[in-house]
């Protein structure tokens, strides 16, 4: 029997599929995503909103999922890294990160790619400075960002060709 006080009926869309779950109201979106649908591609690097490793898109907006309560996402559309390559085809940002060496250890990669997607959505042809500013909420310790910038630039070209 569900505890009415300590339970919240969450209704969200995750990667295009509806997810209904009775959750504890205090859990974060990050905890929910990793534990309930088991989407462990979203990473926890700091739990204070500084590193960006837990970035997901909520209604298209990049959000640090460690700072958002799962309940706050009620009724919204959530995109995680697992939702980027439906049917096995890589998203252009994924393909570009691979071909250009935009990832090393891979721990920041999910959040970095999702932030880049949101950036390219609002600014399809960003300059280098705009890419750097757009990604500055996501820390990467391995790459020095050079090849991430190159990858985002390539993805921007690929995406604009598709339009």
């Amino acid at each position: 029997m569900s505890d009415k006080v300590n339970s919240y009926d969450l209704n969200v869309t995750v990667n295009g599929k509806p997810v209904l779950a009775a959750i504890e109201p205090h859990i974060t979106l990050l905890e929910f995503l990793r534990d309930t649908p088991g989407l462990s591609g979203t990473k926890e690097g700091c739990s204070t909103g500084h590193c960006g490793a837990c970035t997901v898109l909520v209604n298209g907006e990049p959000i640090s999922s460690c700072l958002m309560l799962a309940a706050e996402a009620d009724g919204r559309n959530i995109l995680t890294v697992e939702g980027l390559s439906d049917n096995g085809d890589l998203h252009p940002i994924q393909a570009a990160f691979i071909s250009e060496g935009g990832l090393q250890c891979g721990f920041c990669t999910s959040g970095m790619m999702l932030t880049a997607i949101a950036l390219l959505e609002t600014n399809p042809k960003p300059t280098e400075a705009e890419i750097r500013m757009g990604l500055s909420g996501n820390l990467c310790r391995c790459t020095g960002y050079h090849k991430i910038v190159v990858a985002v630039r390539l993805a921007a070209e690929e995406l604009s060709h598709g339009r």
């Binding site: 462990s40 071909s99 060496g101 891979g106 020095g144 090849k147």
Partner: protein
């Protein structure tokens, strides 16, 4: 032979597909039935005696499954107070703030945190040793409690090395302070007369603060006692064998009772060598009778998880008017935190002068204990610290003598056969070549900006050279001809930096088949021959040699069987991506798949095809890198902008240029950050004042420029296909190149890192008031 050689190709990472799809399993992604949460109680005090710990309230909290203290460490473990590994749980004394005092395992994180609040600890506070000055005072408080050796000798294991019998390094120099854990002295030549003949002498003291490796993935470990006397561990570590050793040593367990699975690792940079928190999870899981997962928070990382040491280097060096370096004298202090490191200070002391020819030197290094988190490696440990000092000094000498800093370095740079500090001859190196590559690069040949630009900003360009001797193995690997004709490489190495991609390239070329034919299977130490830690830039150099040897052994065995089968000599055979064939008649062939079948089916004529590689220690093959940094400084705010950075590195032979560029760009960025932004701040109570990623400032994409990489290939060493070390050398020079560029811009030298706006303002103010 396959159409195209794999070695030398810029191939994407072998693990890229699972990583961009979020499918790679990192340590915190491990889930087991019945898994519960581990959490430790950090000491609030940097130095205290633990008089009592009352865990009774925590134990009775519903949902708590185990509470442990030092009394739960098995008697079979021989405690060594000089080992930071044994400090995973405080015994009678807490020696740094953040050291674990007790730990709990509970059904969920909230319960575990609540239980920690219920543990009552009675502390007797002790004076905190927070600085070199405190540590070295005659009436200092010893940081280490108990003797380091079974014989009861002094805690300091002083070591003096004299490399020239006519010179100093006398017995009186031994520092018997209880907080000096280690001391090295290297002396050579007549220092006094070498300084006397110098036309320029520079003396400065350089400080580098404590910095953190800053991997984005915090330490995480899961322990599961699957049999009463056997534990299986999943952990993000750089060395699986080393992590197993650590658990065996600290808990007094036989190695055979520990299965250590190294997971994907979200960055390590030296900070996750052996994994220092596994013993907590192992003890908790044993007591709880449930699998336990312990994941550090970022705050716990920055406070207690083995940062890189701060250092003070007092340096004096001279040169003559014709540009020849004469003598160098250094007094080096390295803050190890609460436990000796054993070698970071030694690396700084022994290699400080190794990039240049000096006639005489006197180098003294001391490793000092303080009540701070114990330190460990960070990408070329100690070398950025020494590079900042010596490369600043080299620039300063060149400036005072009116010599171009590039030609000054080219004139004095060490060459093959020159004596190193330990008097061994220098190996074949690429030091001259990386300087030459930069000397003709636009970053150097373009005319320098006017110091004060029309934009009102101060412009400066700086150069620096750096090196790293690195690790040299040994290592073992297996090459197996597997079903489907795949070449399966079995090894116990952790892929820290893309090395599995390059190892597959090495194996493909050794066999003569295609890269796609090769699979790398990481195995735990239960199933793999010995692998050295993925540290010291040795993975391609040392493990690559073992993989190549295993692949060649497999190829030889395949050829032996096919030659026998075809009734020909082995030299009449060729190999391509499909299999082995007769050179004179390429249609006569055995596919790899067929060879697998022939070696595994019932009534097989021969056994399964397995090649082994057992590569001994390699020769030294030090890696050299040089950097040019171009900066602007806003004289009103003191803000530094790095506009451009070029790095040239000798890699021997580039196995995978794409991945090497990534290593160079990443290492350079960490080094820039050390120059300008990063510092763990400790107060007088030994508390970290900035334990968050907001206040501990790591660079974002917006802080750093595009980084030009120039890969240089100079023969040397005995690595596979001529490869040398890659990962660490680029970390070394950039810190000094940025510092030299800032000096060129502001006309004054900042000798304390990081070069903050405040320090720049003070330096500018000092210069202006002198004008």
């Amino acid at each position: 032979m396959a159409d195209k050689k794999a070695v030398g190709q810029s191939l994407p990472r072998i693990d890229a597909m699972e990583k961009v799809r979020g499918q790679a399993i990192f340590a915190a992604d491990i889930k087991l039935p019945g898994l519960i949460v581990g959490k430790f109680l950090p000491s609030p005090h940097a130095h205290a005696e633990i008089l009592a710990i009352d865990t009774s309230k925590a134990e009775t909290l519903p949902g708590v499954r185990a509470v442990i203290t030092a009394s739960d460490v098995p008697d079979t473990a021989v405690y060594n107070p000089a080992s930071r590994f044994h400090g995973f749980l405080a015994r009678r004394f807490a020696v740094f703030a953040g050291q674990a005092i007790a730990a709990v395992a509970a059904d969920d994180l909230a319960t575990a945190e609540e239980a920690l609040d219920l543990i009552e600890v009675t502390y007797q506070l002790l004076p905190v040793v927070h600085s070199f000055e405190e540590a070295l005072r005659p009436d200092c408080v010893p940081v280490m409690h108990g003797s380091a050796t079974a014989s009861g000798d002094s805690t300091a294991h002083t070591q003096v090395i004299i490399t020239d019998k006519n010179s100093a390094g006398s017995d009186e120099e031994i520092d018997r302070s209880p907080n000096v854990a280690d001391e090295n002295v290297f002396s050579h030549g007549d220092l006094e007369s070498a300084f006397a003949q110098s036309d320029a002498i520079v003396e400065y003291s350089y400080t580098v603060p404590t910095v953190h490796q800053g991997y984005i993935e915090p330490h995480a470990v899961t322990a599961h006692w699957d049999r009463p006397d056997h534990v299986t561990v999943w952990e993000c570590v750089q060395g699986a064998f080393d992590a197993r050793n650590l658990i065996a040593e600290t808990l007094g367990m036989p190695h055979g009772k520990i299965t250590l699975n190294s997971t994907e690792i979200g960055g390590g940079f030296g900070g996750k060598g052996e994994g220092i928190f596994a013993p907590l999870a192992v003890l908790l899981a044993k007591k709880a009778g449930r699998p336990v997962q312990l994941v550090l928070t970022r705050q716990e990382e920055l406070i207690g998880a083995n940062p890189a040491p701060c250092s003070l280097i007092r340096l004096k060096a001279g040169a003559t008017q014709d540009g020849s370096l004469t003598a160098v004298e250094a007094d080096i202090l390295v803050d190890a935190g609460a436990f000796p490191t054993g070698w970071i200070m030694s690396n700084i002391t022994a290699t400080l002068r190794d990039n240049y020819r000096f006639q005489a030197w006197h180098l003294r290094g001391r490793e000092v204990l303080t009540n701070k988190a114990s330190v460990t490696s960070y990408r070329a440990p100690g070398s950025p610290n020494l590079s900042f000092a010596i490369e600043s000094h080299i620039d300063e000498l060149a400036h005072r003598l009116g010599i171009n800093p590039m030609s000054f370095r080219q004139q004095n740079v060490i060459r093959k056969g020159d004596p190193l500090t330990n008097m061994e001859p220098q190996s074949p190196i690429g030091a001259e070549e990386v300087l030459a590559a930069l000397a003709k690069h636009p970053a150097w040949t373009q005319p320098a900006y006017e110091r004060l630009g029309v934009d009102g900003l101060l412009h400066g360009r700086g150069l620096a050279l750096g090196s790293w001797a690195g690790g040299t193995g040994p290592a073992g690997a297996l090459a197996i001809l597997d079903a489907g004709g795949q070449i399966r490489i079995v090894l116990g190495t952790v892929d820290l930096s893309g090395s599995f991609t390059s190892l597959a390239q090495i194996a493909a070329d050794a066999i003569g088949t295609s890269y796609d034919q090769v699979v790398i299977s990481k195995a735990s130490p239960d199933f793999a021959p010995f692998a050295p830690m993925s540290a010291g830039s040795q993975t391609i150099y040392a493990m690559g040699a073992a993989v190549k040897e295993a692949a060649l052994d497999l190829r030889a065995k395949i050829f032996h069987y096919v030659a026998h089968d075809f009734q020909v000599n082995e030299n009449e055979l060729g190999v391509d991506e499909k299999g082995v064939y007769l050179l004179a008649q390429p249609s006569k062939r055995h596919a790899f798949e067929t060879l697998y079948q022939l070696g595994t089916q019932w009534f097989a004529e021969y056994g399964p095809l397995v090649g082994q590689g057992s590569a001994p220690q390699r020769q030294r093959a030090p890696g050299y890198a040089a950097c040019i940094a171009d900066v602007t400084v806003n004289p009103r705010t003191g803000k530094v902008n790095v506009n451009h950075l070029a790095v040239a590195q000798d890699v021997g032979k580039a196995i995978n240029p794409l991945l090497i560029e990534g290593q160079m760009q990443g290492g350079v960025t960490q080094s820039i950050s050390m120059a300008l932004w990063e510092e763990l701040l400790y107060d007088q109570e030994g508390q970290v004042r900035n334990p968050s990623l907001l206040d501990y400032r790591m660079p974002t994409a917006g802080d750093v420029p595009m980084i030009d990489t120039i890969i240089v290939e100079v023969p040397g060493g005995d690595g596979p296909y001529g490869a040398k070390l890659v990962g660490e050398p680029p970390m070394v020079p950039a810190v000094a190149a940025v510092a030299n560029a800032v000096t060129a811009a502001i006309g004054a030298r900042v000798c304390d890192l990081p070069i903050t706006p405040e320090r720049i303002w003070r330096a500018l103010h000092r210069v202006n008031s002198e004008d």
